[in-house]
């Protein structure tokens, strides 16, 4: 969302290189010490030479509107909760949910042949399965007020057509849902929440890790998944502090996901004095990356940041090694997937990716969820399923607390500042984005090892990572 502001990078980048330079000191007009997004001081924008005139996302976001006065309906047959996620790619369905979604949810995976299914569809279906499980369990517990069943109303999010907006409008005005879970792709999630703001309906996001998603001041949005900001800080610390690399290049998908989600990694690199050697792009669906990789090779890079989907990331890994480039590869959480492992094979190493939670957790609550999911869908859950499950649980809990009023449900949700879900503790910040610490997935001989900051930097991780949490 923010412009690629070369000038300011240049300034900061050069500051880093030439060391501190004297600038006119100006004190911030809001003299507080809280840092948004748990941003370490060294990674904070302009922190080397300028206090900003105003800081945002510090004060708790309020909704002072009218909605709380709207009375609960007299009679309803079901308590509808909306779901918007990428299931299939088809223009005809861009204005609504495809009839065959239930069928597709039943199947284990969706083959992506690029014709009918979105590349995000396999995850979209996991996300849907997670939400369904939560709803089914709530109904097994008796439903709303022990009498009315919860009902998940599903809409397809066709990213090509920015369909999430229309989908939410139908959910809100035709299906009368009370809250919505969605979506995954950053661009479409933004579309979704701006529509939610106008309708005034709570949105629980469980799958979009785009840092800017929450930086829109919309008081109706809650995100329970750790975002790329947290994951990028951990990756950057790992690359520059743990591995001690200095020369890192970037190769990212040219779409919005690649553009936005690498932002924090780029800024952290620049501000810690390791600006990317080069930032190159590829298109989703490309299969040949040698031109870009040869350029990176010629720059003697020690590592390469690859931000995109697993299919392309896997091919890049293979082609990189075919060119004799034994570099560290730093990726987004999306590569922590079977597609990537299948592509790179069992001997792959030196790949690190951020991950929003610890999927190897032995927590009883998580283990119970994994077992229930296995039984229901015959397949293991992963991040999208687990976070959607938590999200649906949070919505159901909020409805249980305050009844059927969208504004009050929103109030109840934002009160859950330290919700304990199957994916761990959710620490919502002032704008209701989960700030619980990210994990690092390191590829070792074809297997992912998940590490916390403490695992990597020892118990004094905070100090080691120069973290200055103000939450």
């Amino acid at each position: 969302m923010r412009p690629a502001y070369i000038a300011s990078w240049l300034v900061i980048g050069l500051c880093a290189i030439v060391g501190d330079i004297p600038v006119v000191a100006q004190t911030s007009s809001t003299a507080d010490t809280v840092t948004y997004g748990k941003t370490p001081e060294e990674y904070y924008p302009y922190s080397r030479f300028q206090n900003p005139y105003n800081k945002f996302f510090i004060d708790t976001l309020a909704y002072p509107g009218y909605g709380r006065h709207i009375p609960e309906p007299d009679h309803i047959d079901s308590v509808n909760i909306g779901f918007i996620g990428p299931i299939i790619r088809s223009i005809s369905e861009s204005a609504g949910g495809p009839e065959d979604i239930p069928y597709r949810v039943g199947q284990r995976t969706v083959r992506w042949d690029g014709f009918y299914a979105s590349p995000l569809a396999p995850w979209g279906i996991k996300m849907l399965q997670g939400a369904k499980l939560a709803v089914e369990q709530a109904n097994a517990r008796g439903g709303y007020r022990d009498s009315i069943p919860y009902n998940l109303v599903v809409k397809n999010d066709n990213g090509q057509w920015r369909a999430s907006g229309r989908a939410l409008i139908d959910l809100a005005y035709k299906d009368s849902v009370w809250a919505v879970i969605g979506s995954m792709d950053g661009a479409n999630s933004h579309v979704l929440i701006r529509v939610a703001l106008k309708i005034e309906i709570p949105v629980m996001n469980t799958a979009d890790t785009d840092p800017t998603f929450i930086e829109t001041n919309i008081p109706w949005v809650i995100r329970n998944i750790t975002d790329d900001r947290q994951m990028s800080y951990l990756l950057a610390d790992y690359a520059y502090k743990k591995l001690g690399l200095n020369r890192v290049a970037a190769l990212r998908e040219s779409d919005r996901y690649g553009r936005m989600s690498i932002d924090e990694f780029r800024d952290a690199s620049t501000r810690s004095g390791h600006p990317f050697l080069v930032e190159m792009q590829y298109q989703e669906g490309d299969t040949l990356f040698t031109t870009q990789l040869q350029r990176i090779k010629s720059m003697n890079a020690e590592g390469v940041v690859v931000w995109g989907n697993p299919r392309e990331a896997g091919l890049i890994y293979n082609q990189m090694h075919a060119l004799g480039m034994d570099l560290w590869m730093f990726c987004s959480d999306r590569v922590v997937s079977g597609t990537f492992l299948d592509t790179v094979g069992p001997d792959a190493n030196k790949v690190a990716a951020g991950y929003p939670y610890n999927p190897t957790s032995k927590e009883p609550k998580y283990q119970a969820f994994v077992q229930a999911f296995q039984e229901r869908f015959g397949d293991a859950p992963e991040t999208y399923a687990a976070h959607a499950y938590d999200g649906a649980e949070m919505i159901i809990e909020a409805i249980r607390q305050v009844g059927l009023n969208r504004a009050k449900i929103r109030d109840a949700l934002v009160r859950m500042r330290n919700y304990q879900g199957v994916t761990g503790r959710k620490d919502l910040d002032a704008v209701y984005s989960n700030r619980s610490p990210a994990y690092l997935a390191v590829l070792e001989n074809g297997h992912w090892r998940f590490c916390s900051r403490a695992d990597l930097f020892g118990k004094t991780a905070q100090a080691d990572g120069k973290m200055k949490s103000k939450e």
Binding site: S90, I91, S94, G114, Y116, Q160
Partner: protein, 956 residues
């Protein structure tokens, strides 16, 4: 890209060292490459060599090489006329599409080495060469294919060689035999070593130099009346070099004791190639020996006289070396007995003479076809807009003399006088403008551009504003006459047609010929639009349910109601059903001041009143007259009787019974007056004594005495006496006599040769299955087969017995009638495309759309199967492969799923779309009715990309 491409192949002509450059581009992957046509001269670098590499010769000797030149032949003009092609053949994208190569691409897609004049050359069949010309690529079949090299199959050839009615009619060509044709043009190569000799540009020597025929063609091409270049290209001279590559040539050489390849033998070349033996410095780089015996063999080297300024000055051009050839020149080579031929200068001269060209005017017979009339307040002058003769005729209705005929363009349709009668305004349907003509001098004062296919005209009382109904763009143009230009466009429904002003001058009533877009299989809903002349804004849009083809409109002199013509089409029920008047009933609508709309029929149960076209009131408002275009009659409606009937009818009957009642018209239709063929526009004389009727297909105006209510005279507009077959067909087309009870004519469903915008159930099952959308007749001759099922190979068949069986329910047309109908239909022209002028560059949006139309890879980089690419079925130039395909468009009402691939020429003109008219816009074809990519791969497109595609489709 363009600059790059030029550099690439231009260099290749000299040295092959360009390989690296091309490879570096290909490394981006086929997905991203833009391909450019390089022309046969580049292909020739490798494919005109000894061994198995001489593909050039057979091509140069083939008809393909003359494809472009053929468009200058008189026959080409005739064929164009029969194909509804409105422009000259060598300008028509349709003709050029099959007669030359890369005619539909933009300039940048043609390298500087490419020449349109080379007709059907290598790249039409093998694809643009820029990416595969590199020898290294060509050696690797897979790489070559990936770089765009195509190996054509029968389907590719049949795109152009499938039988075309127009070509059969004029050239009497025999049916195309693929196998035979292949033998004829076969040029399989055996490969062999490739030599590309290094050539160094020579130092220019003194004196005039040879420039080659392409340089001459810069002026002497199709645009000159004599088409010298085409004439030469058609002659043996142009093949003189290539012929040396034939077995026959080698025999002759052997007979003359020459052992070497004639194409490399001095004795042969000296006569078979212009300027052979001259030093290299005598040739400019545009010269090309492979062109054979060229202009300069007879006219001398052209470098000094080729400049236009010099050529236009006989003395200067002579001094600059332009020679006037005579028999002596020819004898230099055509010596008696050479190769066993004797030389007869006169007959030979006649063969190659290009000092004149055959008469190129095709149809000499020109009819008038008056459409609409206007009369001066003193009744002394009657103006008639004549569509066929492109003129406005002025006659004295009393003396019945023609006072003047003013030529205007194009397809004049309606005529109206200014309040002070100093000017007359004529709408020109073909050229989308209004001609403003001085009624004293009859001079055209100005031309004002308005919307598409302007029909009728009305004015505000002050005469400062003109309101024009645009049937093509579905709106109303408001013209400020002081400013002399259109100032705004008002919304209307579809096929906006007629207009009349209320007597108090404050309102305009506008009819719309086509129903609004509605839901699939929904009753037609048409519209009468009301405009406030004080504000020039739309005041009301009234819905007329169950009716379409609203055309004529007239406000009553008493201003208490408005009448308009309509047809009630029973298109939702099988044609086997005859309740409520079978297929069509014809009538009028009455719009009351409170917005209520009544409908009444003009039909009698045993004799219908087909094609109610125009409607006017007698000055006293006692009668309304309706012209019945299909029955050659005027219906006289007694207004008081009509009102009484409605007044006395119970509400339910008035609402539900009367609109379909075939038994009551005799209560208010007091007379049907016989007039001439295809009566259209009418005016009443200011003294209310006469009604003048434009008898469109008689080139006449009927004079009807309003006291006797009978035709008393005919004003002859001086059309030709002869009746051409096409005109005969036109009369049949517009005459309901061909249908049971005179219910309707061909014209009823195809007004202006176009569409009525609705879906019919004309199938024999009688059960309501297989509904089909009406298709336009404009420019369809060469798009056979016909019908959505694609079962009719010719128009004759389409209009044959089947028509009688399912449509007309009367004796089928006899052979002559069918022939005539066929001849008329093929002359219904396709208007010029309104989204792209011929030769105009594409806009960035259209260009992106074209790339999608021709793409091979989807947005995720997957190769799109051939049958899911747009241009696989919709192949240029008509953008149809003229076959049937199943694109998953069948509905639950269809008994089968395969349908004819429609042509896409001016596709924007004929919504709704798909075989059953389900898609009300081009967008809906893909947004609603292609969920599984069965009608082309489109679901990976973004909305913006789909818009690009549609903007491009509109230019076809």
């Amino acid at each position: 890209m363009r600059v790059f491409a030029m550099k690439r192949s231009a260099v290749l002509l000299l040295i092959p060292g360009i390989v690296v450059l091309i490879l570096s581009i290909r490394s981006f992957g086929a997905k991203n490459t833009e391909r450019v046509y390089v022309g046969e001269k580049v292909c020739r670098q490798c494919h005109h060599q000894s061994g198995g590499r001489n593909q050039f010769n057979p091509w140069r000797l083939s008809a393909h090489a003359k494809g472009w030149a053929a468009l200058a032949m008189p026959e080409a003009g005739k064929i164009a006329e029969l194909s509804g092609v409105a422009v000259e053949p060598f300008k028509s994208p349709i003709c050029l599409g099959c007669h030359t190569t890369a005619s539909d691409v933009e300039d940048w897609e043609r390298d500087e080495t490419f020449r349109l004049q080379d007709g059907v050359q290598c790249e039409l069949c093998h694809g643009p060469g820029s990416e595969y010309i590199d020898p290294a690529v060509m050696e690797d079949p897979d790489a070559a294919r990936a770089a765009g090299l195509r190996m054509p199959d029968e389907a590719d050839c049949m795109v152009c060689h499938r039988e075309k009615g127009s070509h059969v009619a004029v050239l009497n060509v025999k049916k195309f035999d693929y196998g035979e044709a292949l033998k004829e043009i076969g040029h399989a190569g055996t490969g062999g070593p490739l030599e590309i000799p290094e050539t160094k540009p020579a130092e220019p020597s003194e004196g005039p130099r040879y420039v080659g025929p392409v340089a001459c063609a810069a002026c002497h091409d199709q645009s000159t009346p004599r088409h010298e270049y085409s004439k030469w290209r058609y002659s043996k001279h142009a093949q003189a070099y290539a012929i040396l590559g034939t077995e026959q040539a080698r025999d002759i050489a052997r007979q003359e004791g020459l052992r070497s390849d004639p194409q490399q033998t001095k004795q042969c070349l000296s006569c078979h190639v212009t300027g052979y033996g001259e030093p290299a410095g005598r040739f400019t780089e545009t010269y090309d020996m492979a062109q054979g015996v060229q202009c300069e063999s007879c006219h001398g080297p052209g470098s000094e006289y080729m400049a236009e300024a010099v050529m236009r000055d006989p003395v200067a051009s002579h001094q600059a070396g332009l020679q006037k050839p005579d028999a002596a020149n020819c004898r230099g080579c055509h010596t008696d007995g050479i190769h066993g031929h004797s030389f007869d200068p006169d007959s030979m001269w006649a063969k190659i003479d290009h000092s004149r060209w055959e008469d190129r005017t095709y149809s000499s017979v020109e009819y008038k076809t008056p459409f609409n009339l206007a009369i001066t307040s003193d009744g002394s002058r009657l103006f008639a807009a004549c569509e066929a003769s492109n003129s406005l005729m002025v006659v004295n209705p009393k003396t019945r003399q023609i006072l003047k005929e003013i030529s205007i363009n194009d397809q004049p349709h309606f005529v109206a006088l200014s309040p002070d009668e100093s000017k007359v305004f004529v709408s020109n349907r073909g050229s989308d403008n209004i001609s403003v003509i001085d009624t004293r001098t009859y001079r055209i004062l100005s031309t004002i551009q308005v919307g598409d296919e302007p029909h009728e005209i009305a004015m505000n009382p002050e005469g400062t504003r003109l309101y024009v109904t645009n049937a093509g763009s579905y709106d109303v143009s408001v013209v400020d006459l002081q400013a002399g230009k259109e100032i705004k466009r008002l919304a209307a429904s579809r096929g906006t047609w007629g207009v009349d002003r209320s007597r108090d001058g404050t309102k305009l009533y506008v009819t719309n010929n086509l129903p609004r877009y509605g839901k699939f299989r929904e009753t037609s809903k048409s519209e009468v639009t009301v405009i406030d002349t004080r504000t020039s804004t739309v005041e009301k849009r009234y819905t007329v349910v169950g009716a379409n083809l609203l055309q004529g409109v007239a406000a009553s002199p008493s201003d208490d109601f408005t009448l308009f013509t309509l047809i009630r089409t029973k298109n939702l029920v099988p044609m086997t059903r005859t309740i409520q008047g079978w297929i069509m009933t014809n009538g009028i609508g009455i719009l009351w001041p409170d917005g209520r709309i009544d409908q009444l029929l003009l039909d009698r149960w045993d004799d219908y009143f087909a094609d109610p076209t125009d409607i006017v009131f007698s000055k006293d408002g006692k009668y309304a007259f309706v012209s019945g275009g299909g029955v050659q009659q005027i219906a006289v409606v007694d207004i008081e009787k009509m009102k009484a009937l409605l007044r006395n009818a119970p509400e339910k009957e008035r609402r539900e019974i009367l609109p379909n009642h075939l038994g009551v018209s005799n209560e208010y239709v007091v007379k049907r007056i016989d007039v001439g063929r295809s009566p259209r526009g009418m005016v009443v004389s200011p003294d209310n004594k006469y009604l003048y009727v434009a008898d469109g297909l008689d080139d006449a105006i009927s004079v009807v005495d309003l006291t006797q209510l009978a035709q008393v005279a005919i004003i002859d507009l001086g059309g030709p006496d002869t009746l051409t077959t096409a005109r005969y067909g036109e009369r049949i087309f517009h005459n309901a006599a061909a249908t049971f009870g005179r219910q309707f004519s061909c014209h009823s469903c195809h007004p202006d040769g176009g569409i009525d915008g609705i879906t019919y159930d004309i199938e024999p099952d009688g059960l309501g299955f297989n509904p089909v959308d009406n298709r336009s007749l404009r420019g369809i001759n060469d798009t056979a087969p016909f019908k959505w099922e694609g079962t009719n190979p010719t128009l004759k068949r389409q209009c044959g017995p089947r028509l009688a069986a399912f449509f007309t329910r009367i004796d089928p047309f006899n052979a002559d009638q069918a022939e005539a109908l066929d001849r008329y239909i093929v002359t219904i022209t396709m208007p010029p495309n309104r989204y792209r002028d011929i030769g105009e560059d594409l806009t960035p949006t259209q260009r992106r759309g074209k790339q999608i139309f021709e793409r091979m890879y989807d947005n995720s980089g997957n190769l799109i199967p051939k049958n899911k690419r747009c241009n696989y079925c919709h192949r240029p130039p008509y953008h149809t492969d003229r076959k049937t395909h199943n694109v998953g468009s069948a509905s639950w009402l269809d008994t089968h799923g395969t349908f004819d691939t429609p042509h896409l020429t001016n596709i924007y003109m004929s919504p709704p779309y798909l075989h059953d008219g389900r898609a009300s816009s081009l967008e809906e074809i893909w947004t609603l009715y292609n969920p599984n990519d069965t009608h082309g791969m489109t679901n990976d497109l973004t909305k913006a990309e789909l818009n690009d595609l549609i903007e491009y489709l509109k230019t076809l």
